[in-house]
């Protein structure tokens, strides 16, 4: 009987083994099918962040995108304002000291060409502090055709990346891309492909030497060597000639390495070490109107049955002009005053908040306002922290006076605990 026949006859009966094998195959097939049902994740990953991180750290507002469609090589400009909230959650996050302005994109589909904070060009990270407001501008050059969801972002050291409102932008497959770099010597080079020819050449030279060395030792095979080595005759399978050739190759490798260093020093321009160029942009001045408004949140209640969120605000207007509550903003969620939206020409004002009593607050007046908005919509975007250690909401309240001046300053930062009503 052959070995194969012997092993076949000694196999266990089909029963259990076959059943288990079929079950395993079915499980694998189900798993593969489930993976196939997964939808692609193209955007809005920031909704996975906790509510306090999105609302109480950095808030973006007045964000505008210059365009939604452009060609390769054309520029997209994103402007707006970002605020490092005074009510930074320092029970769990270190105080904000270092930040970095950028954009969120699925890989470098755009190359950022300019970063500005408060009219200061920021080449790298910036020093920041709580309560600071920074107008920002990012200019990005289109590079890879496709449609991408782009957000301005501000990363804060020890806190993570906070994301502003995003927009889909389409890059058409037309145009040319180049990013010139001006060297200190006056020479201008194109960043695309810069330096790679040199890298490939020197890697190839090193590889040829290494390949030659390996070929020398492997040309007569390797595995046969195991036998004399196992018998203790390893020294006998290396000849003096082989040693001499190997030493020569090693010396050559050393000379090539040293020579390459000398070549680099002679052929490249003035060099500096990698630079750390961090600046401290000046925070925007506090809004003059905002200094004259006193806003206090009395309480906030979330009705779990109806999903409504109700705030009670006491507003004192110490300015010489009547003011009107324009909108609320929590992270990227905005709710406009229903009365303001009614008078607006915009076709879709988005989420609305009902302000009672309506109307302007006169100079010198103190008024208690009740604000009613859709808490369920906030919860859907993960902005209602009902299941967190701090059940509180932080956002901005925007007022305007009759001259159109808006107040979005520290005084009007809204932070309050929320009482769920079950």
């Amino acid at each position: 009987m052959s070995q194969l026949q012997r092993s076949a006859s000694s196999r266990p009966p089909e029963g259990h083994a076959g059943w288990a094998r079929r079950l395993a195959l079915t499980a694998v097939a189900v798993l593969v099918l489930l993976i196939g049902l997964a939808a692609p994740a193209g955007a809005h990953g920031e909704e996975g962040q906790q509510a306090f991180e999105k609302t109480a750290t950095v808030t973006f507002y007045d964000v505008k995108f210059s365009t939604a469609e452009l060609d390769i090589g054309q520029e997209l400009t994103i402007t707006g304002t970002l605020r490092v909230m005074e009510s930074w959650p320092d029970h769990t996050l270190a105080a904000p000291e270092l930040g970095y302005l950028s954009i969120n994109q699925p890989g470098p589909r755009f190359f950022v060409t300019e970063r500005w904070l408060s009219d200061t060009f920021t080449p790298q990270s910036v020093k920041i502090h709580k309560g600071a407001t920074y107008p920002f501008k990012i200019v990005a050059k289109a590079r890879v055709p496709g449609t991408y969801h782009i957000h301005p972002t501000f990363a804060v050291h020890d806190a993570g990346t906070l994301v502003g409102p995003g927009q889909s932008v389409t890059i058409a497959d037309a145009g040319e891309f180049s990013v010139p770099i001006d060297l200190a010597t006056g020479e201008t080079v194109d960043m695309g492909g810069f330096g790679i020819g040199n890298v490939v050449a020197w890697t190839a030279i090193s590889f040829v030497i290494a390949a030659a060395y390996l070929a020398f030792w492997m040309r007569k095979g390797l595995l046969w060597r195991a036998f004399p080595v196992a018998e203790g005759r390893g020294a006998s399978i290396i000849s003096k000639g082989q040693v001499k050739v190997s030493v020569a190759i090693a010396v050559f490798a050393l000379l090539v390495g040293v020579g390459s260093y000398a070549y680099a020093e002679l052929t490249t321009g003035p060099k500096v070490p990698p630079q750390v160029a961090r600046v401290e942009p000046a925070a925007a001045e506090a809004d003059p109107l905002g200094k004259q408004l006193k806003v206090h949140v009395d309480h906030a209640v979330f009705q779990t049955g109806t999903g409504r969120l109700e705030f009670t605000l006491t507003v004192t207007n110490n300015s010489p002009r009547p003011v009107l509550l324009q909108k609320l903003q929590f992270s990227t969620y905005q709710a406009m005053n229903r009365d303001v939206a009614a008078g607006s020409a915009a076709p879709d004002p988005g989420e609305l908040v009902t302000v009672t009593p309506p109307g302007q607050i006169q100079p010198g007046e103190t008024r208690t306002l009740t604000l009613d908005l859709d808490g369920a919509a906030l919860a859907e975007q993960g902005l209602l922290p009902l299941n967190e250690a701090q059940v509180r909401l932080t956002g901005l309240v925007f007022f305007t006076d009759d001259s159109g001046q808006s107040a979005i300053s520290e005084v009007n930062e809204l932070t309050t605990g929320i009482l769920p009503k079950y």
Binding site: P108, F111, D182, G221, S239, T268, Q275
Partner: protein, 259 residues
């Protein structure tokens, strides 16, 4: 089943048996290479990615302190292990060079296909460093000295020391000074400004941080010596991995029997 081994020729020109008398055919050599080389690519590439990933990935992380210190020192572990395997079992001084070639293949495949083709991060920003020349020197030191200790000390020192200088020719163009909107940066820093890496803000860069500045003006040579010393230690670590986690357990179960 026994295997008859014909006594090989005298050491003046040691060679395997003639075609008709070959113990193991060339197909076994190919099978061995097909199995072993991907294993080394995986092990060494994973080692580098986990220990020194960012310094290897990005041109603007290749500074004068951490890149030339950590990359060769932690990149010594796998070559030392494979060198032990190759020398102790086959008496062939190619362990480190095989590792360096394998790493080169793995890194370039990764940078080109994963970084450039898939994620559109240009390869002139993510090019990898190389150990090719240093690996040849390390192997030949073992060949000449026939001592793991001498290879660890002398070879380790050289391996760590030459890393910056042998890779400088590739890095030098990226260290050229740039006047970027009134700020002095390098070409690599400028590339880092332009190319956004999601969830990798600039302040995460670990470059030029530390206190190795007290002794001499040129930090590079101090770091090169320190990298050499660290490589001596990590050679020992790799040697132990090769001996006790590779050769010894495999030797217990796969013994070559001869008459």
């Amino acid at each position: 089943m026994t295997t008859t081994v014909a006594k090989p020729p005298t050491p003046s020109d040691p060679a395997p048996l003639g075609k008709g008398q070959r113990i193991l055919g060339w197909r076994w050599e190919v099978l061995f290479a097909l199995a072993f080389v991907p294993l080394v690519i995986g092990a060494f590439h994973l080692n580098q990615m986990l220990f020194v990933g960012d310094w290897s990935f990005w041109a603007d992380w290749k500074d004068r302190q951490w890149w030339p210190l950590l990359t060769p020192a932690l990149g010594m572990i796998i070559p030392a292990a494979v060198q032990y395997i190759a020398w102790s079992r086959l008496r062939v001084p190619i362990g480190a060079t095989v590792c360096a070639v394998a790493l080169m293949i793995g890194q370039w495949l990764s940078r080109y296909f994963t970084f450039d083709w898939w994620a559109n991060i240009p390869i002139n920003y993510t090019w990898p460093e190389t150990f090719l020349l240093a690996a040849i020197i390390l192997d030949v030191i073992l060949l000449v000295s026939r001592s793991y200790l001498i290879t660890a000390v002398l070879g380790g020192l050289i391996w760590g020391f030459v890393f910056w200088y042998f890779n400088f020719v590739m890095l030098a163009p990226y260290l050229q000074a740039v006047d970027f909107h009134g700020t002095l940066l390098t070409v690599a820093d400028t590339m880092g400004f332009h190319i956004t890496r999601t969830q990798t803000p600039e302040y995460l860069r670990i470059i030029e941080e530390g206190h190795l500045r007290a002794l001499v003006g040129d930090i590079t040579i101090v770091v090169a010596f320190f990298a050499g010393m660290l490589s001596v230690a990590t050679y020992g670590f790799g040697f132990l991995i090769g001996k006790y986690l590779a050769v010894w357990p495999i030797g217990k179960f796969f013994k070559l029997q001869t008459n």
